[in-house]
């Protein structure tokens, strides 16, 4: 045995490299397509008024959502973490809960009540209501970890609370705030279902429509290229910020409790604000679902159909989660235990998977499978592979967090106490990482069950999932018939979402 820390186990390294290549299929597809199309053709495909309109729509929506989620997420996080707001624990859960309602279910809830939410304003409001928890979670975690001495020092230097917030607190929140809003931006770029229902066309919905109408036309692929490029740009930005982020959380988990600001007479308005936010983000979609379940004229409970669909979704969720975790494990293990230039590169490459929208993954897999492996086209294998590719980064983050629970020193102590490598794995490593792996599997499972875009494109004919059944019914305005499927998705998501309110899992972006 080599003993030196820099050596990689050869087999594991090869396996990981192969997995990274599979995960990069969408990227290869887009790059390959653009290159084979040629510059002139690409320009004519992209330089059209329609594309300009899409570009404007998408840009307006992304910037609007980033601004709105930043305000909503930071405000709510500050109220919950730093003030004497009554019922903070309940609000903490309720403010994260919208993550259990997929954005397309949320917009269904609104649009089935009133058509007035169609268009930009409605899309901005509803998408922001769905995604503000992605800002709330990191900002709340950051606020909790801030050293109260900094604010006390500012106060001692004569700053008013408001000036202290602007000059001391906000600059420290910047990494969490920018990181969170960039994740929001990536989600908005990739969002399909919600915007389709709200009739607000963006790149993603346009690609879907082009694909449906002209079946894999060059225009769709080229737009996918533009979309992927925008996402990659945003992610590069996020990655750079994350580098600073780690340093800015020095001495996290200070034992001192942070003094909370007394709200006094502002209590009622503040309660009204978080209450209103919860009502809009959670109350409206859930209320609307309940309404359609109870009274909708098209509501019928096809128990057999619901059961079969639920079973299919559960099966796909489990298969996708297990495959994603299995593919991510060797890479994550190498990254944690054999940190080196090569493993960092692999980690970065898989991380870029975060930027690839489901629609691009789906388009890529359709094209690549028809061309190279027609046997898997229109099979569940391809669909599960798509899930695994899409959610590989999420699985990686969970496994890394889990492996951090079992640092090598525990292995060494066990070895010194006479345990061989296998016994150490059984008695020390696995018990330590199992909860983390379980939580990671649950998170990927949640993502698969509520995934719509890739499922619509890749599900073999006759395969019905909760998401596709919901979509089929809601887009044909059979709201009552769509409601039970949406309700089942929310019920399946709720327990996993609760995990995110626990401190340990806050860092995992959804």
């Amino acid at each position: 045995m080599g003993g030196s820390r820099a050596t990689y186990p050869r087999l594991l390294l090869l396996l990981s490299a192969a997995i990274v290549l599979v995960a990069m299929i969408p990227l290869f597809f887009v790059v390959g397509y653009v290159v084979s199309t040629g510059w002139d053709e690409a320009v004519t495909l992209i330089w059209r008024p329609r594309v300009g309109e899409l570009f404007r729509n998408t840009g307006l929506l992304v910037t609007g959502c980033v601004g709105l989620t930043a305000v909503l997420g930071t405000g709510a996080a500050w109220l919950v973490e730093r003030t004497t707001l009554p019922g903070r624990r309940v609000w903490n859960v309720l403010l994260v809960a919208p993550l259990a309602v997929p954005a397309f279910v949320n917009s269904f809830g609104w649009v089935s009540l009133t058509a007035r939410v169609e268009g930009y304003a409605g899309a901005l409001l509803i998408v922001s209501l769905s995604y503000y928890p992605l800002v709330f979670l990191p900002v709340a975690a950051m606020l909790r970890g801030l050293d109260p001495a900094l604010e006390e020092t500012a106060a001692a230097l004569g700053h008013s609370p408001w000036r202290t917030f602007i000059r001391v607190v906000l600059p420290q929140l910047r990494p969490a705030l920018l990181g969170g809003t960039l994740i929001v931006a990536l989600h908005v770029l990739a969002e399909f279902g919600a915007l389709q229902l709200l009739r607000f066309p963006t790149f993603t919905t346009a690609i879907y429509d082009l694909y449906r109408s002209s079946f894999n036309g060059p225009a769709a692929n080229m737009l996918a290229g533009v979309l992927l490029l925008s996402c990659l740009l945003l992610l590069t930005l996020e990655l750079r910020l994350r580098g600073h982020h780690r340093y800015s959380r020095l001495g996290g988990g200070s034992a001192r409790t942070i003094p909370r600001r007394r709200l006094g007479r502002a209590t009622a308005p503040c309660l009204l604000a978080v209450g209103g936010l919860t009502a809009l983000a959670l109350g409206v979609p859930l209320g609307s679902l309940t309404y359609w379940l109870a009274t909708g004229s098209s509501t019928s409970f096809p128990i057999g159909d619901l059961a079969r669909t639920t079973a299919t979704s559960l099966g796909l969720g489990v298969a996708g989660a297990i495959l994603a975790m299995a593919l991510a494990f060797p890479i994550a293990w190498l990254c944690v235990r054999r940190r080196g230039r090569l493993t960092i590169l692999m980690e970065r490459l898989t991380y870029f998977g975060n930027a690839v929208p489901g629609i691009v993954v789906a388009l890529a897999l359709v094209t690549v499978s028809i061309r190279f492996a027609p046997a898997v086209y229109q099979t569940l294998v391809l669909l599960v592979l798509a899930y695994a590719i899409m959610f590989l980064p999420r699985a990686m983050v969970s496994i890394r967090a889990a492996l951090d629970q079992a640092p090598p020193v525990f292995d060494e102590v066990a070895r010194a106490l006479g345990s061989g490598p296998l016994e150490t794995l059984r008695r020390v490593t696995l018990p330590l990482v199992a909860p983390g792996l379980g939580a990671g599997t649950a998170l990927v499972f949640l993502a698969v069950v509520t995934e719509l875009t890739a499922t619509l494109l890749l599900a073999p004919i006759g395969t019905r999932t909760l998401a596709t059944q919901f979509w089929g019914n809601s887009s044909s305005i059979a709201y009552g018939a769509a409601a039970p499927y949406a309700a089942l998705m929310v019920i399946l998501s709720a327990p996993v979402t609760l995990l995110l309110t626990r401190n340990r899992w806050r860092s995992i972006t959804v």
């Binding site: 102590v413 070895r415 006479g418 018990p431």
Partner: protein, 371 residues
């Protein structure tokens, strides 16, 4: 630095006797010419060390000197590039042999204890025992008692213990399988100063009670001097000196070691017949250095102050750091202007700006001036 670190040092009896010792006994550790590099950086450059059985040896050195790597090599977590490591006379690393850590019967107590967070105290302690011994569990109370803990903690989980308690449980866990050797990697560095001494003493008592050989890695001089039977001072991947705590402190191999193991006042003087006259008055020099110019090591506690007597050198008190039990007094010698620090008992501390007379008691170590 060269392979022999003691070119210009006073006599160090134990280092000479180390190589002349009888063949290693059951639980001794012998390290012979061990080297280790990580990539381009050479961490250990030819280490020779003998740890006599049933004693505690402290490896003392600043961070980055390679002391932890040496410990990991003895444990078997790393493989030496060259040289040999013997446990109880058996080669465990080197010469084509490598015994896996789980077969070395070596107890390991890492920094901050590293108790298994998913197991309670009892299960942590019995981790290294066989299945049957584990189930009977009667060793747990004995071991807890040994390390000075209330048997009631057996059902607690690591996060419910204080830092000192965690360290004691980690030691009990390492002692449970009856190892021939215990390796302690900075085990007290994470503890508060108040806890450190008590925990250290409890550890030494438990090791003595079980007649276990121990190697303690530390960067804390007082910890090494107060706990160990033998101190090995490490510097830049090599051993600078091995000796009893007293030897290492009173007769350091060179001035570098002297300044690392304690506060030092260095005086230049001419030697003749084992004595020297300096601006601190007459000094009596330990044997081993020839006549001529030399540098002398005076420890602050050797400097005695008197208020009125006519003996000694006149000095002015610049300032005083009062610690209660004792005090550090910074003085300026009037004749030469030299600043020295004296360590005096807390009972009689002079006032700043007062004039005192100082004299040096006890023999001082001498070094060639080129060092």
């Amino acid at each position: 630095m060269t392979s022999s670190p003691m070119t210009s040092s006073p006599m160090i009896p134990s280092q000479m006797s180390a190589s002349l010792m009888p063949p290693p006994l059951m639980n001794s550790v012998t390290v012979r010419a061990v080297t280790k590099a990580f990539g381009a950086s050479e961490v250990l450059r030819g280490i020779d060390l003998t740890v006599p059985e049933q004693s505690m040896t402290a490896i003392l050195g600043p961070s980055g000197c390679g002391k932890t790597t040496l410990l990991r090599l003895i444990a078997g977590f790393e493989v030496p590039d060259a040289g040999q490591i013997l446990l109880g006379g058996q080669v465990v690393s080197g010469g084509g042999r490598f015994v896996a850590p789980q077969r070395r019967r070596v107890g390991y107590v890492p920094q901050e204890g590293a108790l298994f967070p998913h197991l309670d105290v009892a299960d942590n302690i019995t981790f290294g025992l066989t299945g049957r011994e584990r189930r009977s569990g009667h060793r747990v109370e004995e071991l807890l008692e040994l390390v000075g803990l209330d048997p009631a903690v057996r059902l607690r989980f690591p996060h419910q213990l204080s830092g000192g308690q965690q360290q004691r449980v980690a030691l009990a866990r390492a002692l449970a399988p009856g190892p021939s050797l215990i390796l302690l990697d900075e085990p007290f560095s994470s503890l508060d100063a108040g806890l450190r001494e008590g925990t250290g003493r409890a550890v030494v008592q438990a090791l003595k009670a079980t007649a276990t050989t121990a190697v303690l890695v530390t960067h804390d001089q007082s910890e090494a001097l107060s706990l160990a039977d033998q101190v090995a001072v490490m510097r830049d991947g090599a051993i600078a000196q091995v000796g009893t705590p007293h030897e290492v402190y009173r007769a350091p191999a060179d001035l570098g070691v002297a300044e690392f193991v304690g506060a030092a006042v260095v005086v230049d003087a001419d030697l003749a017949d084992g004595a020297a006259s300096s601006d601190l008055g007459p000094l009596y020099v330990m044997a081993g250095v020839d006549a001529g110019p030399a540098r002398l090591l005076v420890r602050p506690e050797q400097i005695q102050l008197t208020g009125s007597s006519q003996e000694g050198v006149e000095a002015r008190v610049v300032d005083v750091s009062y610690f209660g039990h004792d005090a550090a007094v910074r003085l300026q010698v009037l004749a030469s202007g030299r600043m020295v620090t004296a360590r005096v008992l807390g009972l009689s501390v002079p006032l700043p700006d007062s004039l005192v007379r100082l004299s040096v008691t006890g023999p001082v170590a001498a070094y060639s001036p080129e060092v």
